[in-house]
Amino acid sequence: MSFHPVVTYPKASFIETDTGNKVSRRATISGPQNIVLGGKSIISPGAILRGDLRKAGNAPTVVITLGRYCLVGEGVVVRPPYKTYKGAFNFYPMKIGDGVHIGDGSIVEAAQIGNYVEIGRNCIIGKFTIIKDCARIADNTVLPPNTVVPALSLFAGSPGRFIEDLPETTQEVVEARTKAHYNRFQPVEQ
């Protein structure tokens, strides 16, 4: 990681929260009161977070939970999953763990994404998908609804299939990479 250059952005183009989240002004955040960001996460320009798609009723709910050191890439759509159960249509909350990178142009409707998961570019993660810790989804993968991705496995293809086990060091590698990525992302005054 010693050779990655610092990536700069004009200070005005991102909003930095108290906990260090950096949210692009060009990202669409619907229903921000229903979205929890863990801190030090980056929401890129053009990303869409649909916090407004919530369970019916007036009680306050959390729709999207994002952990620490996450990256939501450019043009990513994060949309909570929905289904009709016993005749009632409902949205269900989405949980995303720490150190999760979602590549540019992906669409995510997962129910649960564990810690240190890498999702490539232009992926489609179907409704109610469960992705366990340290899994990796290669670029251009389509995971059909209800797919389960076990921990430490690489999925690729359309439909996404198990390709191989990831090395045992994946957690440390991804953790270091996501932290370094956040630390390199620096504002400049213009």
Partner: protein, 524 residues
């Protein structure tokens, strides 16, 4: 990833790294993250040479941990509700047959269920499978599997050979020769009736091939030979298939080889006949050193835990090497700035190298140990066979010892300064003071990372990948507690200095193939 990769050589195939451009060399070099380290043998181990044992079985869909006792009974497949779509290998969902009437029918308990693929929309009514209740589908399917001709054939084969294997092994349970004798008899059996076994699998009778007389003679010679195995199947089915194939109009109607390979043994060749299969189980594996059986990886019992009870990996022992060409990173940073995309992302593909030019590169050496190390780099001399011709490129690196500071957890916290003294972080000023400032040797020291500069000179006829082997030797203080008592009661002795060496393959870039007009035959 930062720039072109550095791969590490595992000594399992050959002690020294082979010339990196050999096609076979690619299989002997691995990323550092995938390597293990045996502390007993003091050696690097790779995923190809460690011995692997299964520690837990689990279903990759329902994540249920299957006790190893039932794995065999359930034939290595999930015994709950997980099935693979016969068309697209997606996992199937159990859905009510008529979704519109869901709530009403559920109460009346009349609902019937089918398996449905959310990807290709295949459903189990295509093969006439409808279930009365949404649970325990696997047991119903396994019954069908157990009833299939190929399973029965396998059972028969097992019954056929068991009388031969069992008495011998039970007579001499502790002699390894017993098994060998049984195997030898089996081999004879296979040699004489090998045709028979194979053709009976194809549904033909063995007798037609071997001829009666030959069989009788074999019988006399080996008294404990088995009677000839006879297949259950006839050949009618095959005829039928040929007739069906003749009338075929759409090639998609024939099941692909992949699909038929996944089916239980004697799958139909018609795509419409393919049945859903129970999902194969996956396993967590523990890994051992192939030489001394020292445990290197032992996962936690829980299937979805990413923790390990034992995890001895090379990245905790060997210094990490990273390589970069600063001109290149400056270039891509510059390009990024120009297009005003202030976003992170992978560095674009490394810029192509041009023949006849000189390049500088940096090697970052990161020490994972809690003690400082002294490190020495050495290039591999050209192989004796190749001395006749001039190598297409030459690399110079500092040969003196480089010290790399110890790793401490504190380094994690001073990340702020990284922005300032990052060499490649300032694309603008780079070109101006680049002349003469490039030097061989230590360029920068920061935390537990030392960067050294090197130089690459490309010949005019250079072509293809620029890769070279690098021998890294480092000395460190041994913390081996066993080494201390051997010295007697002298108390704390001087910590022993230990040396370890390993080969790496450094990939600096690619020289693009020449334009056709100036094409010359590539050097062999």
């Amino acid at each position: 990833m930062s720039g072109p990769p550095v791969l590490y050589h595992c000594p399992c195939s050959s002690l020294h790294a082979p010339p990196p451009l050999l096609p076979s060399a690619a299989y002997q070099a691995h990323p550092l993250d995938t390597l293990y380290f045996c502390p007993e043998c003091d050696a690097v181990r790779c995923a190809r040479c460690v011995s692997v044992e299964v520690s837990t079985y689990y279903c990759p869909n329902c994540l249920f941990e299957v006790p190893s006792a039932s794995v065999r009974a359930e034939k290595n497949r999930c015994a709950r509700n997980c099935f693979v779509c016969p068309c697209c290998e997606n996992t199937l969902q159990t859905v009510p047959m008529d979704p519109s009437s869901s709530s009403l029918a559920e109460e009346e308990n009349k609902e019937r269920y089918i398996l449905y693929c959310t990807y290709c929309r295949w459903d189990s009514t295509a093969v006439g499978m409808v279930f009365d209740k949404p649970q325990g589908l696997a047991s119903q399917l396994q019954r069908i599997e157990d009833d299939s001709p190929s399973t029965r054939e396998l059972e028969r084969l097992r019954d056929h050979f068991e009388p031969l294997l069992r008495p011998r092994t039970s007579l001499h349970p502790y002699q390894s020769g017993a098994n060998a004798a049984a195997l030898a008899a089996l081999r004879r059996e296979r040699d004489t009736h090998g045709h028979g076994l194979r053709s009976s699998r194809l549904g033909r009778s063995a007798a037609g091939r071997d001829g009666r007389d030959g069989q009788m003679r074999e019988k006399e010679r080996f008294e404990d030979d088995l009677p000839l195995f006879r297949s259950l199947e006839g050949e009618g089915e095959e005829r039928e298939d040929i007739g069906w194939l003749r009338g075929l109009t759409e090639v998609e109607d024939v099941a692909s080889l992949r699909q038929r390979g996944a089916e239980t043994w004697d799958g139909s060749i018609r795509a419409s006949d393919l049945r859903p299969l129970r999902l194969p189980l996956q396993s967590k594996k523990s890994k051992r050193c192939p030489a001394c059986r020292h445990i290197l990886i032992r996962p936690e019992q829980k299937a979805q835990s990413t923790k390990f009870k034992v995890k001895i990996v090379a990245s905790n022992y060997l210094p990490a090497l990273e390589v970069s060409r600063p001109e290149d990173t400056a270039f891509s940073a510059h390009a990024r700035r120009r297009t005003s995309v202030a976003l992170p992302g992978a560095l674009g593909g490394a810029e192509d190298l041009q023949p006849g030019r000189t390049y500088h590169f940096l090697l970052a050496l990161t020490n994972p140990l809690y003690d400082p190390i002294n490190l020495r780099l050495a290039l591999q001399p050209a192989a004796p066979g190749e001395t006749g011709k001039r190598p297409p490129f030459s690399v110079s690196l500092p040969t003196n010892t480089v010290s790399v500071a110890a790793f401490t957890d504190a380094w994690d916290y001073d990340e702020d300064e990284g922005a300032e003294d990052e060499l490649s972080g300032r694309p603008g000023g780079r070109d101006a003071d680049a002349r003469g400032r490039w030097k061989l040797g230590v360029v920068e020291r920061k935390a537990n990372t030392t960067k050294v500069g090197g130089e690459l000179v490309l010949a005019r006829d250079a072509q293809g990948d620029v890769k070279f082997n690098l021998l890294v030797t480092y000395t460190y203080k041994s913390e081996d507690p066993q080494a201390q008592p051997a010295d007697g009661k002298e108390g704390r002795t001087e910590p022993e200095l230990k040396t370890f060496a390993f080969w790496t393959v450094v990939h600096l870039g690619t020289v693009p193939p020449r334009q056709p007009e100036s094409a010359v035959p590539p050097p062999v």
